[in-house]
Subunit: 334 residues, 4 copies
């Protein structure tokens, strides 16, 4: 049994609280948040204790692991505290919006040997994961293209936008990581990025994008296309296509049921696709916890490392440079 403290009890924190509580091999012991309403809600629903300070939550002898789902600027602080206390760490993406803070954090923790995993949940989606397995097994021969479509159902509010660190660091970071996941040991070397503000007034005020397209190139020459939007009225659009010398594989959208309806206005109308990430990636969120448990128990490095978090951020930063300078940017992961 692995005992957790949860840092941050907002939307995503609450989801993690629920998953940890329901899992037969994990317990939620403490929750901490600066918002006491959130703390009370989680404490009530999971019967865990309320920590009055980050130190109480993180340093408690009763816990083995810390799940960090607090505001992004607090991530590196909590990671460092937990590493010093010898606790296993699960941290939501992004590690931080500032690569310097990420690098400093890495310096501080690199000599500790605590297990650490970053929350790139999409790697654990069984359909997307099939594309990575297909690349490994060369099911479609030599990989030549990846095409990722990733569109949110609707724009977030102004509060979210202000803290999110920009569209590329907040949203595309998932697709950068998914590209790296599928590519495996073939690193990304170049990127071209196009951002756009086409419809979201809040994004305009925040000087942010709501629409974007990217091309990336790997060392082996694989070309990757990503397209993103903050709004898809038909639902959360999450598709991955890989193409190679022996064929193509598509991980398509999913619907809660297998029902189709045929009427005088439509032939073959599918059930709506899932609305957003908590529904669409429900199982993936559970399976990433299993990976973390496995990593902690077996003392093996997690499949999603601190470096993965850092590298995705480096790609997001390069994307901004490409957009701003209207040129292809070479990637330097060092």
């Amino acid at each position: 049994m692995i005992n957790f403290s949860l840092m941050g009890a907002g939307r995503i924190g609450k989801m993690h609280a629920k998953i940890i509580s329901a899992h037969p091999n994990t317990n939620l012991k403490y929750v901490f948040d600066i918002n006491s309403k959130f703390v009370n809600e989680v404490a009530k629903s999971t019967k865990c204790s309320k920590a009055t300070s980050p130190e109480e939550a993180i340093n408690s002898k009763n816990i083995d692991a810390v799940l960090i789902a607090s505001a992004t600027p607090t991530h590196t602080k909590f990671i460092t505290m937990a590493a010093k206390a010898g606790k296993a760490i699960f941290c939501e993406k992004p590690i931080d919006l500032d690569i310097k803070k990420v690098n400093k954090c890495l310096d501080k923790i690199k000599n500790t040997k605590v297990p650490i995993q970053i929350g790139f949940n999409r790697r654990f989606d069984s359909s997307h994961a099939k594309t990575q397995q297909a690349r490994l097994k060369k099911d479609i021969g030599e990989l030549e293209m990846i095409v990722i479509t990733s569109r949110d159902p609707e724009p977030p509010g102004m509060d979210y936008l202000k803290a999110a660190g920009g569209f590329f660091r907040d949203t595309t970071i998932h697709d950068f990581d998914l590209s790296r996941f599928i590519l495996g040991d073939d690193p990304i070397v170049e990127i071209s990025a196009f951002g756009d503000n086409l419809f979201d007034a809040n994004a305009k005020i925040a000087n942010d994008f709501d629409t974007a397209m990217f091309i990336l190139r790997s060392k082996a020459g694989v070309l990757i296309h990503i397209n993103n939007s903050r709004r898809a009225v038909y639902g959360y659009d999450q598709r991955v296509e890989i193409f190679g010398s022996k064929g193509m594989m598509i991980s398509g959208n999913q619907t809660p049921t297998s029902v189709r309806k045929y009427t005088d206005t439509h032939t073959s109308s599918k059930e709506p696709i899932y609305n957003f990430f908590i529904e669409r990636y429900e199982q993936a969120y559970k399976d990433q916890l299993n990976e973390f448990i496995h990593s902690v128990k077996s003392n093996k490095k997690s499949k999603v490392t601190f470096e993965d978090g850092r590298n995705a951020l480096i790609l997001a930063n390069a994307a901004y440079e490409s957009h701003n300078n209207k040129k292809v940017v070479s990637i330097d992961f060092s």
Copy 2:
């Protein structure tokens, strides 16, 4: 070049006139119909001559073949005339509604050797035909089940119903023939039929059905299900499923384009399926003419014979007997 006379210039006759005119190897020479408006329309659009009597059309030295698309009760008379005149015959289904008239006609023509083909157009649909080829090649192993869904977009009017000879003889006759086509040399031996009047007021007045289901059994034990309706609001529903020891094959509905649309109310709405038989089976109608041309030129028996027309009618008659007596009826094709 094969020169045709066309008997009957209504909806289906006009369609045949157009196909014969456009075909590089056939000419339409004469048209006959008791409705002079229809005759004028066809004569004008195809530049063929107007025959003033069936005899003029059928016995003309200038023609090689007669296409019979007139009212059903006239079919056997025109077949007999054409056979005596030594003309090749293409006759729309059904041969007649009365099996006695069909038998007498067969007696009269059996010693002539004119080519004759019945208009079971669905055999020539390239998708449905794949199921028959699959049975022959044992692509799905030994055939065990056939499931045919055949639903018209909307009920015909009262005039049509009065002359049609009943739902089973008018509509299901196509599905009986398609079943026989797929089964090949394995004859149908039993039938159970359920007719229903659920929605069409005209059908009620005409003491006819608008909805029906059937089970047939072949000598080898293959079970066949057919379901029919006079009304499918989403379009002309034409599906064939075959199932066997090594798998299943489905010949599904078709849409004019490959477009799908995704909106806030629907995910993956296909283009409408074809509205009715002239659109859905357009190519099949052309291909059955090619089969007829081949039969005439090669002097080989057509793939759709007078006997096929007769056997489908025998099945329709047995279906009525089954419905009326609420029992399984054994089939006697002799």
Copy 3:
């Protein structure tokens, strides 16, 4: 918390043991089976007690409910014992193979007021259930046809066949119940059944079928088609189609992922469909337990009653009569 005794610890019993143990509102207290290996396996995996007799399991003061998943001939005995002991009852289908035993059992328990639910799991499948909801809400207008395709992946062994009570009572009984579920308050009045032995040598020895087709008619005139096979090489084929005055709804097959693969031999090959009922109806099995819990806690009659179990058996018996006498059989549920 509802405490259970489990009667029968074979394949299906083990599945129920797992679901009861994992559910936050239910406990497994006792397991009984005449096979001590099965008992040990369940006791070990769930940490429940081993009962040495049915009486010990059923009459224990520590339990609230009995889940009966033992051999079919023992069902009515255990139902009666549990009813006398005032325990809530969940019984796997069929109640019994002999309608007389079912009727006697009903006589004995009808004055007790214990909650009782029969294990027709497919009612709880969210896709199939949409068709029932669509009928209620008239989403496709007035219901006119139901077409159920239900094919197992492969034939069971001889041992299973001997005890199963025949193809119609063992397998089609699910489809009879599903038809009744969709029809709601519109009772089935007629049936025509065709059984066949086409491929399974064991079924031949057991004088049983491996292939079957049915037509049923409801009082309101709805026509229902069911087709069954003991073997579908492409997987567990479970489809429901409803058709009515305003359209059609299809609850199609499901695949574990949304992956499609395109190669030089295939375009658009889906992931394999689920292999069999434990995978395909996993969530439905959980949701039927939720319905049972709801029924027990709210003291409301379950949505799947003893009468539902009895009526499905009456339909199976009528199907045998129809097959044997080659006629349409009228249904008498009294």
Copy 4:
């Protein structure tokens, strides 16, 4: 009736010869090619005359129109000759590989008023055309993204590659034009291009690409992605997706039949998609001829103008500049 001379009788010329001959409103009068074998083949199959010089073919009083399907470097010469002779002109893409030659040609013909149409056949595909109509009618609201997938089944040979003018000018030019077609009056202003040589040894020798990705931006901010490959083992992959404020529309791949097969290794394997452009765009080739006929008869400008041909070439040239300099290139259509 419009009488044609055909310049060039290779693969694509032969296809045009067949379409012109079969069309009720067009005749093929002359064919010219430097390859006398090709000339003989076309003359024999269509019964047209063999021209011994371009002048004989183009200046003949018996003809109204010239269809130019000869080698690309001859296009502008034949266009100029035909324009001087007052003949209507249909010219295959590209007009030329050299923008200077295209500009000079434009100078020479701009004061003649002969109808001229460029062979961008994909605009006439009824499925792709639906996306353009959807943009016009705002069926998916305001257009925000276009995603075009266009992959050939297999690489051409070395002879073809040498004359083709490079992957972007030969292949992507179709996708550039299709993007402009969908965008309508919203011009493309920027492009980023990534070329790659991943598998084709001939392309390597010819210093050409076999794989490519592009992002384009329109003046209104629409982002367009194109991906191309010289080889897709599953067939000619031609998909267009448009995305906007009210939804998404996808024009998907097409198969010759609507057959699906389910076996023990695959569930739902579709019929193969069309192999290459002559099959896939058969109807589009016919419909572009209808547009040309309409343009000639009505004396209205064709929907696919000389400027469209020139603009697509300007985009291809900008794509090379972007690839070579690793930067976003601004488009200047002046």
